[in-house]
Amino acid sequence: MTIAGLYNYWIVILLMMTGFYVVIASGNLVKKIIGLNLFQASVFILYISLGKIADGHAPILQAGISNYSNPLPHVLILTAIVVGVATTSLGLALVVRIREAYDTVEEDEIHDQDESM
């Protein structure tokens, strides 16, 4: 039970770390943003996993059902998703501007251009 009960979290952690790796290891700015999205989406799954209850139902109250999953994580993640979208759109807007200013979206090439100035 111990392992089975945690197995879920561990895969989610693997997902999180994959996203995190994309953010910090790739030099392409667009890919970084995509990685950030993967990272955040996995954190969302972690949160939602916390709220799941065995044999639970979606927290929309109905007659005759008493076992609902916890709605609070859902609310938190709704907010977090919105924050994530906001960050993504802002980040991508920055990428577009960077590309116009530097003509590249590779981190090291941008760095080289700044150094050579």
């Binding site: 139902h57 979606a58 929309i60 109905q62």
Partner: protein, 97 residues
């Protein structure tokens, strides 16, 4: 029981589509695969709704998915065809100042 079988086949179908999405080889294969995944996602959500006992809550998600998924596909194709979200082909030469 039947629903379980349907769900299982849908998951198999999703796996196949995912393999196609990863293998490619062209962009269009990936678009096709994600499209197929989208269709199967809609079905999975509906079937899950029936399995979990309250389909009417889940069907709204499926309905929205059909609508939004179409927009996603159009956007993908537009970018792959024109390289841009904005342009419409009929205007490419016109109205230069």
């Amino acid at each position: 029981m039947i629903l379980t079988i349907v769900l299982a086949t849908l998951l198999v179908g999703m796996t196949a589509a995912l393999i196609r999405a990863i293998k490619g080889p062209t962009v269009y294969d990936r678009i096709l695969a994600s499209n197929a995944l989208g269709t199967k996602t809609i079905l999975v959500i509906v079937v899950l709704g029936f399995l979990m006992g309250d389909p009417s809550l889940y069907i709204d998600i499926a309905l929205m998915y059909v609508l939004i998924g179409f927009i996603g596909t159009v956007a993908v194709l537009k970018v792959s065809e024109f390289g841009d979200l904005g342009q419409s082909r009929s205007r490419t030469e016109g109205d230069q100042p």
